[in-house]
Structures are given as C-alpha cells and as structure tokens.
C-alpha cells in the first residue's frame, strides 16, 4: 500500500491530510471484509461517505453528538430535523448550545455550530415535525439516524421507512439506526426495513410504565407521585380548565406542586418536592453527557461502516442487530439479534394473536391497547371484518359506535375473528386475531 493510493478527492493534498486517520482505515484492507463484501480500499469508500446523504432525526442529547460524529466521520451531506427549542436544562449535555442560545431552535443552532467547526460539511436544518415531511423527502436519503426521546416518533419513522421499500428499487431501502438512553443505560440498533426486525417488532422492549388507576389518585393516594398526578390530572381540570397546562411554565409547575403538597399533608404522605413534581408531570428521564456519547457514537460507528463497507456493521439479516448498554454496575453490553416478527403490524403480514376474556367489554379492550407493551395505542379505532366496532373520532362515528363500549366481546365478535385497529398517531393498520380465553 503506497501513500499515493490515498486520493485527493477534495482539492489539495493538505486538505486530505485532515482525514489522515479515517483515510488510513479506508485505504487499507480490513481483516473482516474483502472485495467480495464490496470493500475496495482506496478512493471508492472515501467518495461513498462524502456523497452519502444522511438524515439525523433529533438535535437533542443524542442528536448533538450524532451531528458532531458524522461530520468527523467524513459525511458531508447531512440533514437534521427537530421541532424543539433550547431549554436551560439541556446545557448539561447538549454541548452545541450555550446559555445565549436558550429559546432558539435546536436544529438550526446545532447545524450552524457543527458547520463552523467542520468546514466542508453541509448540514441542512428543518425546524418542525417528522410528520410534516412526505415520502419523497425521505426517499432522498441513504441512511437515517434517530436520536429521539419519543417512542411515538420512532414508530412513525419506522413505519414510513418500511412503507418506502419498493422491491424493484434497491435505493428505496434506507437503513435505520436508532439510539436511546436513560441514566447510565442505553441501546443502539440497526434496522434494514422489511429485511430485519423493525422498531415495531421490538416494541415490547420498551414497555410503558404502568399507569396508576384513577381511583387511587382520586380516593386512596399512597405515594407522593399519586398526589402529584392527582393535581396534574384531576385538580387542574377542575380549577384551571381554561388554561392549557404548559409543563415548562414555572408558575404552572408551582401551582401543581402546592396542590400536591397540600394533598400529601392531608394524607400524611411525605416526599413531594418541586423537583419530583416536575419529574412526574414532564415524565423526565435522567440524562447525562457520557451515556449520550456512548450511544450516539455507537450509532455513528454503524453508519460509518454501512456507508464505507470498511468493516462489517451490525444489523444484517441473520446477524446481531441490537446492543444494550448498562453502565450502572461495571460495564455490560448485550449484543444480540432481535428476531423479525411475522405478525408485526408494520413489517409482517400476519395478524397478531390477541387473547381476550369473551365476557369483558369492548371498552376494556379499547383501554387495554394503551397498556399492552406490544401495542401501545392511545386512541385506537377498531373495525371487525363486518362492521365498525368503535371510533373515537370523528364525532359522528363516535356517537354511532360508543354504545358498543359496554357490550361484551362475545356479542360483537366471534372466536378467531380478525380485527383492524388504527390510531390517529400512525398510518399503519394493526391487525389482530381475537381468541376467546
């Protein structure tokens, strides 16, 4: 391998000197790949990474790291989407933001900072929701990297990328790389839509926290959190119905805190604090710079390997596609293959089996969709093969169908019947086959 093998794709040789370390990897053969895998050391992989169009979803804790990492991996055409503005509590980890940036859109500030630091890299920000964009928009990219804190957004982009796949057009398959963190723990995963296990297949890995029953909040609180939820869900509605609760407004949090504290004192419950009030109401997940760094870098490492083929990535069919990271006690990773599910509502074609008590009501079933780890649908609309069972919107359909909610399931359905469930948050139809227990 001669030095001359290192190309000067972007102008002068000194320009290329900047990429000494990455070029060394890309211009020398790898021990785990060969030309049969499509890796030809030299100019080709360098051009691949420079020309790849990569979309980053989220410019928060993970997103800031991801943008930095991609720019320093040699990616030059990056887009970033984020609808949020910068809050002071972001500054302990979102290192592209300063105190003067508080209130500015994250996507724009992050893009500008990285472009200034890494000349030659173009980052196009979009301040808004992923749902604003159509299929043509997502078709432009080669790889999508997600650093999100919402399961709902992950499911939406996952379903969109699965939908995009056109068997006639190999470019329509966009590898999806997803990261997530909580405290000292996190995960990164690689998905080849329709080919390998998708986010919907893996939904039960993110079981929702069990909701506290309303009757506990209303009449038998036992924990400080119950008092806070009571103030949040019940008391606010009763006393300030006309004001939309803004969880970022200190006056609103203080109001809830005082109400919760008074209730806690009434029941001799200790432990309600302002910080806990904020945590419960905003569903705050602890987040630190180090864990974000680990997970974001793992995602970008996979993106680099996918774009350059210089080493095997995780996520190929039949291979490991998921890394769980735990840093609480020593360091432990579990890297494994999450299996694709034939009854996945997004990427499978079989209906999911659903065992129900035939004498329970349709209302019970509707409620259970929010809690079941494998469904997590908050506003489900249900249709059986023959008829509409329940629609929460529009109002006319709701009026027609809400009478069904109190009826037992065996009056509405037969054992083994298929039902279709939709939810306004997703474009997918979730198919279930009902079995009576």
């Amino acid at each position: 391998m001669a030095a001359a093998a290192v190309p000067t794709t972007n102008g002068s040789a000194t320009r290329r000197a900047r990429w000494t370390y990455s070029d060394r990897i890309l211009s020398r053969p790898g021990a785990y790949v060969d030309e049969e895998d499509g890796f030809v050391p030299g100019e080709a992989p360098i051009t691949s990474v420079e020309n790849a169009r990569i979309l980053v979803i989220g410019a928060g804790g993970l997103g800031c790291e991801i943008l930095k990492n991609l720019a320093l991996s040699g990616f030059k055409k990056i887009d970033v989407i984020d609808m949020d503005t910068i809050d002071v509590s972001n500054l302990n980890r979102q290192f592209l933001f300063r105190e003067k940036d508080v209130g500015q859109p994250k996507a724009t500030v992050a893009a500008n900072f990285v472009m200034k630091r890494v000349p030659g890299c173009t980052i196009t920000p979009y301040v808004g929701k992923i749902q604003d964009k159509d299929q043509d928009y997502y078709l432009q990219f080669n790889i999508v990297v997600c650093g999100l804190d919402s399961i709902e957004a992950r499911r939406w982009i996952n379903a969109t990328l699965v939908d995009l796949v056109d068997m006639e057009n190999p470019d329509s398959l966009k590898p999806l790389i997803d990261g997530g963190t909580e405290g000292f723990k996190g995960q990164s995963r690689v998905i080849f839509p329709t080919m390998t296990s998708c986010i919907e297949c893996q939904l039960d890995m993110h079981a929702p926290r069990a909701a506290v029953p309303l009757c506990t909040l209303a009449s038998i609180p036992r924990q400080p959190q119950h008092c806070i939820e009571w103030a949040h869900i019940i008391k606010w509605e009763e006393e300030r119905k006309d004001v939309t609760l803004d969880t970022d407004d200190p006056e609103h949090i203080t109001w809830l805190y005082k109400k919760a504290l008074a209730r806690a004192q009434e029941y001799n419950i200790s432990g309600v604090t302002y910080s806990m009030t904020q945590g419960v109401v905003k569903n705050i997940i602890p987040a630190i710079a180090s864990t974000n760094a680990i997970i974001a870098a793992s995602c970008c490492n996979e993106a680099y390997k996918i774009a350059t083929t210089c080493a095997p990535c995780i996520g190929m069919p039949g291979q490991n596609n998921y890394m769980l990271y735990t840093g609480d006690t020593s360091v432990y990773t579990y890297t494994f293959e999450h299996q694709k599910k034939d009854d996945c509502p997004v990427c499978g074609n079989l209906p999911k089996d659903l065992v129900v008590n035939p004498t329970s009501t349709l209302g019970d079933l509707v409620e259970s969709f929010a809690e079941r780890p494998e469904s997590q649908l908050k506003k489900p609309n249900l249709r059986s093969e023959g008829k509409s069972l329940y629609y929460s919107s529009p109002a006319s359909l709701m009026a027609q169908t809400k009478g069904n909610l109190v009826k037992p399931l065996n009056e509405l359905l037969s054992d083994g019947e298929e039902i279709a469930v939709t939810d306004p948050a997703f474009s997918t139809v979730f198919k279930y086959r009902v079995h009576f227990s």
Binding site: R24, A31, N268
Partner: protein, 568 residues
Amino acid sequence: MEVQVPPPLQDIPTAKEKKYDRQLRLWGASGQKALEETHVLLINNGSGVTGVETLKNLVLPGVGQFTILDSHVVSEADLGVNFFLEEESLGQFRAEETVRCLCELNPGVQGFALTEPLETFIDKDDVLKPYNLILVSAPLDSAILARIQLYANALQIPTFYFRSTGFYSSFSVLLPTAFPIVDTHPDPTSTTDLRLLKPWPTLSEFVREKTKGLGTESMNQHDKSHIPYVCLLLHYLEQWRDKNGGKNPETYKEKSAFRELVREGDANEENFDEACANVLKALNPPTISSTVRNIFAAPEIDELTTSSPSFWLIANAIRQFYNTHNELPLPGAVPDMKAQSADYIELQNIYKKKARQDCAEVVETVRQLEKQTDRPKEHEISEKEIENFCKGAAHISLVRGRPLQIVEAGKPITFGDRAKAMAMELTNPESLIGLYICFLAWDEYIATRSTPSNENGDNGLKIPGSTDKDYKTDETKLIDMAHIIVDNLLKEANTSIDEPESSEIKAQIAKQCKELVRAGGGELHNLASLTGGMISQEVIKVVTRQYVPVDNTCLFDGIASRTYVLRI
C-alpha cells in the same frame, strides 16, 4: 377554601439546579459536590481525541477543574478528528486550544493547559499532588507510565490508562486496594426486603387487625379488596404453617401450592393478584450476597485504627448486628401496593420504625468502636451516614484495585495470580481477552521499537502501522508478538489448549492485530467518542463513590459492537 401551604423557599430549584436537573436525578447533591471538588489531569498522548472527549463529558456536568498536559502542536490531522479545535488552532499548542474550546461548554468549570513535555514534567517532585484523578492516553513511554503509577499509588489517586485505535479500544482503572461503595444504586426491583418469614410483633399485630374476618362473611368486599398484599401473605403464611407443621413454604413446589392458597382467597381482586405475584420473591429466606460476605471477611474490618475509613467501622458494626440477629438491618422501604391510604401509611411507619430501631443499634456499636479506636471527636461518623449504610447494607460493594499491567522493554509480560483465570478466558468465545493481548503486543511493539525523545519535539515513539512503508511487516511482527504472549500465558498458567481450538484462537488474534496495524495508532472519532463516554461514566462513578466501577479493564470491539470486562 383549602389551606394554601407555601412551599419552603429552598425547594424551588436554583439556576444551577435547573441546568443540572437531569443529572441530579441520578447522583444527587452529594454526587454533584464530589464532582465539583474534583481536579482531573489528562496526560494526553497520540492523536489524543479519547481524552478530550472524556473531558467534554466531565466539563458538561460541572467537574471542578481540569488540566491537560500535552506538548503536541495542532496538525491538519488533528482537525479531522478532534471537535474541540478550530481552523485557527493549526500550529498552536493542542493543550491550550482544546482547553479553550472545552471551557466554552461550561462557564462554571476551570481549565488549565500545560505544554511541557511529559518527560520533564514527570521528573519533578509532587507534580501529581494537585489532582484527584488522572487520565493517561496511549501511546507513551512505558517507563513514564510506570512512574505515574508509582506516584498515583502512593497518593491514592485513581488513574485511568486507555488506548483507542481504529475500531478497538481498551481502558484500565487503577483504584486504591480497597475501594468501598455504599450507594451502589441497585435495580429498585431487587431491593425490596419485607421480612415476611420473620415478622416482628408490631407487624403481626397490624396483620391480625387488617385480616380480621378475612374468609368469613363479616368482612365486606371493599375492605377485603384493600388489604395490603403484605398482610395477605403474612395471613396465609400463618394458615400454611398451621397445616404444615409450622414450616414455611420452601421449595418451588411448596411456594406454588402456597400461591394457590392465596388465590383461593379471591380470584379477581388486584391486591390478591399482587400477593400472588410476589410469592416467589418475598418468601426467599434472607441471605447475604457473596460481596457482603467478602466485606465481612476483609482484613480491614478487623484491623480498625484511629484513622480507619468510616466504611470499615460501620461494616464492622453491621457485621455484629448480623451475627446477633442473623439478618441485616431492615432497609425500611415498602413498595406501593393496593391499600387504603391510612393503612398503607401505617404499614410504612411500622417498617420505618423497625428500620430506625435497627439503625440505632448499629449507631450504638459504631460509637463503641469509635471509643475503642480513639477516633477523634471531629471525625465522628454522622448518623446520616450510618443510616444510609443500613438502608443499603445488602447492596454495598468493594472493588479491590490492582496495578495496571505495564509492558516494559526487556521484561516478560506476566499475569501473576490472574494467569489461570486469563488462560481460561482464552477458550471463552464471549471473552475479548484476545483483543486485550493484541493491545499488550501493541504496547510491547512501542516499548521495544521506540527511540529516546529528542530536542526536535519528536517523542521517538514508533507505532505499528503508522507508515505505509512498514505497514505490512508491522502486521507480521505484531501478530508474532501477540502469539508469543498467548503461549507464555498458557505456560504461566501451566495449561494448554488443544487443536483446532488453539489455531482458531490465534487466527482470531491475528485478525485483531491486523485491524490494530491498519489504524496505525490513529483514532476514529466514533470510537474515541464512545470510549470517552465509557471512561467519563467510570470517572463519575469513582469520584461520586456511587454505582460500581469497572474492575479493572474494559475492552470495546467496534466491529462486533460489544464490550467485555476483564480483571487483570
């Protein structure tokens, strides 16, 4: 009109608390204080990105001070891999430029740059004294690394040594020989301790009152459905013992039968569901973990002196408690369960009261030990610390720090008392011992092929694969060196590995050596950032004395995307 209770003023978060909110939820005010009292020294060598990325993750959460020692001048290659440099940094000292860019991240943190060559810096006396944590990045002269280890050991300064090149990285932690942790943050589901097999009189009395009439018409369904599951389990345990010669359900089969008994009490109520779900967990006899057992058997617990760390005095007192009662002090927390508010609070208070009694007994023993060891009054252990220890007694941890394995030219690489264990790692397909051996060979290559530093600022270090001219021959050399280390390890452990396994292990090591040489000592930004993330997590664990740090070497394989921890 409801009475409005004004919140106490100190409860409204300060500006600092707002900024650090997401981390204070993890390590609390005490952890934050420890972090803010820390001064980290980074001795930065090589391409130097991993160390700077580590510091980024410490500056952001508010480490007190940091210093970077680095005599390199910023090159073009630095700009392509290090985010904390700018175009204008070219030709400037890398230490000064990275300190400047890092300080922008947090106005509350102080950063200092030292541009003196490492060789002269380390020659001076007491030069490491101002720091309470040291980070050292490879490659460096192994004699200097040995010197750093010597000083760090003497001063009891936790020290990290790490290498990151291409798709691979490793870091090792040098900790004091006794590094105890009380606040280990165990998984909340593992901490419930309800003592159902040994209820005390107040608890039994409460249970009798709450289950009076259970199973008869005299109790209405509403009351029945609000009996806390703790009371249900204790109630049915008594029934079980009456029918089973006074014995508790012990085997899995007996516990399943016991669960049926509880289920017969009511088929649908939520509190009965909770009781059934908790049968297996809650009926385990109280045993102490092997970690706690080891701490109880540690020499330090018996060799108490005037200046013993408080940990050992409290541990001794807890051991006395355990020997007397055959159980640890009660933690006192009660998980949430279906119940009337007042009943739940009363139950909570019963547990809290018992926990306080247990703790009081431990406090008394601690005070006696303080007296026996002539502990000065100003070092009296606070009751809060003892209480905290009692609450987490089942989950305390102790890491025994071991020296870094330093490869020095002309000295054989040995594993000492770890040789047998490490030889066994070789045949474990999950283990990354092979990669660790490649890194040892990498260190050995540098130690044996480098020339002394000269006045031109050339540190003389020769890295495998750093020139295209020697790249292929370096590959062969490194593979040979790694294979010799394997052979010597097996010899030292007095064992052998049969074919074809032996050849497979060596073939795997050869591939990993090739990848190391491919990178030529250069870092990939992603690997540097990931490794920096792991190291900073460990630094936070070490300085806050919370969670449990790595003991003592962690490897990351960026091709397979996994880590492995070895005790070297």
